[in-house]
Amino acid sequence: MPHRMFLPAPSAIAGAVLTLVICGPLRAAESSVDFASQIAPILQRHCVRCHSPDNSEGGISLETIDDLMSGDYVVPGVPEASGLLELVTPQDDSPAAMPKDAAPLGAGDVALLGRWIAQGATWPRDIVVKERSMADASWWAFQPIDVPDKSSPKSPSTIDGLIRAKLAEHQLRISPPADRRTLIRRVSFDLVGLPPAPDEVEAFVNDPDPQAYEKLVDRLLASPHYGERYARHWLDLAHYADTHGFERDMRRDTAWRYRDYVIESFNDDKPYDRFLQEQVAGDVLWPDDDQAVVATGFLSAGPWDYVGHVETKSAQLRRSARALDLDDMTTQVMATTMALTVNCARCHDHKLDPISQREYYQLQSVFAGLEREERLVSQSALQDYETQQQRLIARRDEIDFQLRRLEGDGIDLADIVGGGNGSMTGAFRQGIDPRTAKVQTRDFGKLGNVVTNRFSESEFEFVDGVFIPDGDGGRAEIPVSSTGVTIRGLPSTSGNAWDMIRNGPVASQHSPALDGIDFTQGGRSVLGLHANAGITFDVAAIGRQLMGATDAGTQATTAPLRFTALLGYFGAAGSHHADVWVFADGLKLAEFRNLKRDDGLQSIDLQLAPSVRFLTLVATDGGNGFSHDQIGFGDPRIRCNTPRQSTDAQTRRIAALRSARKHVTAELDTLGPPPRFYGVVASAEVPEVRLLSRGDPESATGDALAPAALSALAMLDPKLGTPQTGDGQRRAALARWITDTRNPLTRRVIVNRLWHWHFGQGLVDTPSDFGFGGSRPSHPELLDWLAEELVRHDWSLKAMHRLILTSRTYRQSSHVSERSGQLDESAMRIDADNRLLWRQNPRRLEAEAIRDAVLFASGNLNLRRGGPGFEDFDYQDAYAPIYTYKPADDASLWRRSIYRFIVRTTPDRFLTTLDCPDPANMTPKRITTTTPLQSLALYNNDFMLRQARYFARRVEREAGVDVAKQVERAFRLALARSPSDREAKLAGEFVSRESLFALCRSLFNLNEFVYVD
């Protein structure tokens, strides 16, 4: 591919020739100049880089003749009047004005230009001169994998053989092997992202088996934490996060399923080709395989602008957002799988690599039928899920009925508000909207669109409905039931309402505790009812449930019931106060006026006559504004009037039921939320894709493009379909093209990534750019050999890990050895960057690994796997949601960092400081910086100090009070080794002088803690 020009159609060439003939050679003595073969290459080589429509730098464009003519740069037939010639000709002793900052035109070229102008400056209309990319199809990365013939005796075809051969060329040698202690720490962080436990270290160091290291590698590869470690690497490439990003950074509550898919795929050693196929087109290729469907979460993992796609009314703004969306998908797929920077061809042909702008849009058209959306994994998955869930819930309800019968504990009204059955099954803090009776899980503030004294019926069986009261000075008749029951005599209110009626505290509640009782702890409950709001329960239905369970239906509804609760004002102390009312079938049973925080808890125990159908609870604002009026009914229960005596047999039965309930609850917990995930959905018809001139979504030009891959890979057919091909077939075709064994890039790219993850530096040290702008492979033969091994091992990544990790090259020491000082000095001189790998690279842990290692040492690491991410922030639902980080002092927040709920607009500051990258970017390579802010974070951050405290307690628990033993234990937990004599002495003195806590805090800050040799 010598030139990158748009060659004219034959008829145009004929026209051009004809023109030449008519205009005639003015200076007959000279042979006629051919524009396409003689002039265009000059312009292409010297001019169009700056002088093109894509580049405003040069002011004019030399892609066509228009600008040259209009600016008198070229006056046909008159070279003397043509500014172009003057610009490229050296004047007197000063060099030519053009090209700027580049090699001047040769005298021959200048002469040719002169003759061309003299001969009439013919420029066939169809010839557009385009800048040529730096690399063409002969670029190394596009060539087939080249592995020397096996029979060749001189090919040293092992990792070590190839590395040593290259070192030898530079008179360098591989370093001595690292000792076992170093090795186990290195390979543990490398494969599972965690340090080795002290007993694992001792076992390995003392293992007499010569295969001890191989066994260790196998053990770590089999660990479920391997997938957690490698998923982190992969999610860096997918720029995964759990929110949309941009202005309205909304939650993606089901994105985690893709994260778990990646973890499991690594753990299962899913063949890498299949792994890629699933992520590009799993929903099409294996629609019945839920995991393959979830895999397409890859395509939707990046940021997405809700305002640009949905909220704005402007079609132009939507087109613009959509263009960027498709670019994101296209770029991610090609960069991750093949390390190609196709996005550089969005506005113009790729300047470095042989990728035309047209090809870019053909690739983009592969994804043009997709939208990012939360979706069902599949209908059948949902059915399975619901069947399972119903079975478990039925079982749990059955147990609850039994328990209630035996315990006489009654039905919890707060739990019912949370959508439960009255016995700890409701969702904590779920609420009912007092305006509409709709179920809400998010926090609200002051409610808009309030209509007072309007009753809204609830869909819950035991809740009749809700309302927002305004008594209008006692005059208003307020409907409080679906059957038309009303109440009168309530005072006037502000008519305002705040948040929902909740199973738990309301939004911004001052405290969930009153009189020393925290109603969110220890099996207690609270019905949160911020003034002004009212709720009516269907007591008759509740009674039927209760009695039905008690006495198998006989005289069910006539048994008397009681309503018990601990009522209180949960808002702040001060002058704020509110009023609370309880009604039965519209008749007032109790009222509490001017209730304040200082009044503490009010014990309620009200008899309900057998005929009562509705129980109504009302909170009103007391006429002094509704702020702070957070009323709560603690442990609100409807129970049978006659408590039962319990016998031993009953007590045993209760214990058995409780244990059965625990079991069922755990199963329900494992079942988790419904099988939905954040992925992509295809439209029935793929919208047409045309080339966007200069990447502008408003400047679509040319025909609708057929999906196609890149022609630069000569061994493969780039055709992926026609403009009529449906979405599924487009993606399936691309997936096959990417994973075709003849595709040399896909294999080279993944083995290079593995190498990068194991050595901190790839053989190509730009792991997502194998083009001209990236770097060249340090060991091309090794790269191809590994790529070939991958296929020989049926695309098994674990096999490749094994190959790399058991090599001498990997196992060598990272120290610059002092024994052979001479050699090492020369190594530093010859290859300071260690591209030749004469030693292993020492590496600093990534932010996530530091956090995990801290939790590991403190003994707090919660190894719970999978499921929704942990949220170490308070979430506030606003126009633009607000995420406020809080101290992570809770076991549920001590899970591995891979399970973090990742917020795009509000990244975790602690981790960002430690170089955790912004998930807006695809990150093939982590950057390491060293800053004072990192020192402050590790030394002073709340999380670090608390963990240091736990670490100290653990050490004391495990080592006792002897300081020397404490020091020994602390070193082993933090650094996987014993202290040296000198360290032991210093540390011992330090602990005696300061504290064990101070030692633990310092250990977390050591260079050795965050570096791996």
Binding site: D54, G445, R904, A920, N921, T929, A937, R949, A987, S1002
Partner: protein, 481 residues
């Protein structure tokens, strides 16, 4: 961590061969890791002589109306009440256009230059001869998030480094005991798009901004000191712990002489201790005189919070901070009585009225103070928003919808010619028509004044040598002194 007894200074980038040495010694990994820390290492040096040494940028998120502030449009006033889009073809961000609506404030000429400015800014009007206005700004988007990203990073997508990060990457800092790039967010909250508006994007993390929390003067930087309530830690034990830590680090390092990142990390702890001294001092506004406090209206209930940020910005640049960004407005969070930023869809007189007084007070005080202190010449002050607003009202109300087609930014000090305007919008202020200019030119101009050629400050990322100005940008010569 606590304060080091000896406050000795470590020369940053003392010897020329340092980087080379580090690159070779660091084993090839993270060869940037040793670049200076608080100060940041210079990656550009100066391409030419600089006029400005530092930058204070005021960002007004939400979209400031040009036609009510700096861009005088008498024709719009004449057409007030007549249909703006008579054939009904236009569709704005959130609405169809209503009628033309003249400025809600009267415009007057001010200063020697006689430039126009509306009565919304009576104090800034007295500084007009120091300000250069870019009347023909426009944006590629009318969405807040992407718009803020574009004005801050040159791209409408998240993930790109902000101007402050680029400048820090290029020039490092003058101070070795304060961060080079500081952001002072609006006390009400974050701007649209959040923290990543001042992120380092793909640049190494040391070029990201440090946020100063001015509501807690003793604790202005996160983790500067241990959180209150940790009884185990005292300044004395902090110091002892640090000494012990460094002892162990030295022992560790002795056996690994080739890894100079280890030395850098030891230094980082020393620098952190210095920051503990300098940051609280820099943020202590009580050291300022009464008249300065009054100038910035620090006690004013509305203007005060922003006035304090402006005063703090001056203190920071005085102490060698390279780039300070101040936010005048937050995100569109739960709308209270006044919108929390300039995004005036329903009631522009109310919201611009409020924010206008805030900006007018703080920014004018800053310009005057810098001038009094003789610092304005070397301090570039920039005031921007992410896009403008429509000359038509939004529907029948008193607001205006988003307008990517035109807005005004202004610059002052640091090599800027005062009392000039650049470019122009059409007669209604709907579209920039004379020398339309994107963020690129503003960024190119700012970089130029700082001694940087914007085309030559680059960083390789995923296949591209990236720049703040993408492939665009021209220095706006007309506003240079």
């Amino acid at each position: 961590m606590s304060i080091n007894d000896s406050r000795h200074r470590i020369p940053v980038a003392a010897h020329g061969s340092r980087r080379e040495f580090l690159r070779s010694a660091a084993g090839g990994i993270g060869s940037l890791a040793l670049s200076a820390m608080l100060a940041g290492e210079s990656h550009a040096g100066l391409h030419h002589a600089a006029k400005a040494k530092r930058v204070i940028q005021i960002f007004c998120p939400g979209g400031m109306s040009q036609v009510d502030t700096f861009d005088y449009k008498p024709e719009l006033a004449r057409r007030d009440g007549t249909p703006f889009d008579s054939d009904g073809t236009l569709q704005f961000f959130a609405s169809k256009p209503g009628n033309c609506r003249g400025s809600h404030w009267k415009f007057r000429r001010h200063g020697q230059s006689g430039l126009w400015i509306s009565d919304l800014f009576p104090r800034l009007a007295t500084c007009i001869d120091d300000m250069a206005f870019l009347y023909s700004m426009h944006s590629k988007t009318a969405l807040h998030g992407p718009g803020c990203f574009m004005m801050n990073t040159g791209f409408t997508l998240p993930g790109f480094p902000s101007m402050g990060s680029w400048v820090t990457y290029g020039l490092g800092s003058e101070a070795d005991d304060l961060p080079a790039f500081v952001v002072l967010p609006d006390p009400r909250g974050l701007p649209p798009g959040g923290i990543i508006n001042w992120g380092a994007g793909f640049l190494p993390a040391q070029y990201q901004a440090t946020t100063l929390d001015t509501t807690d003067p003793r604790h202005p930087i996160a983790d500067l000191f241990p959180p209150r309530g940790f009884t185990e830690v005292t300044p004395r034990s902090d110091r002892a712990g640090l000494n012990f830590l460094q002892q162990l680090n030295q022992l560790h390092r002795e056996t690994r002489p080739a890894n100079t990142e280890l030395e850098a990390r030891i230094k980082a702890y020393e620098m952190a201790a210095r920051l503990q001294l300098s940051a609280p001092e820099a943020t202590d506004l009580s050291q300022e005189t009464q008249s300065i406090q009054e100038l910035y209206q620090t006690e004013h209930p509305d203007v005060g919070p922003f006035g304090k940020q402006c005063l703090l910005a001056r203190r920071l640049v005085q102490r060698g901070v390279r780039f300070v960004q101040i936010y005048c407005g937050a995100e569109n969070t739960t709308a209270k009585k006044i919108r929390p930023n300039w995004d005036s869809h329903e009631d522009l007189p109310r919201d611009h009225g409020y924010w206008g007084a805030v900006l007018d007070g703080g920014a004018s005080a800053l310009l005057k103070d810098l001038k009094q202190q003789g610092m304005l010449d070397e301090t570039l002050v920039i005031c921007t928003t992410e896009f403008g607003r429509q000359p038509a009202s939004q529907g029948k109300g008193f607001g205006r919808d988003h307008n990517a087609g035109a807005f005004t930014a202004w610059m002052a000090g640091g090599g800027i010619k005062g009392g000039v305007g650049f470019g122009a919008t059409d007669e209604l202020g709907f579209k920039a028509i004379e020398s339309p200019t994107y963020s690129y030119d503003l960024h190119a101009t700012a970089m130029h004044l700082l001694g940087i050629d914007h085309t030559r400050l680059t960083y390789y990322h995923n296949g591209i040598e990236r720049r703040l100005t993408d492939v665009h940008g021209h220095v706006i010569q007309d506003v240079l002194a």
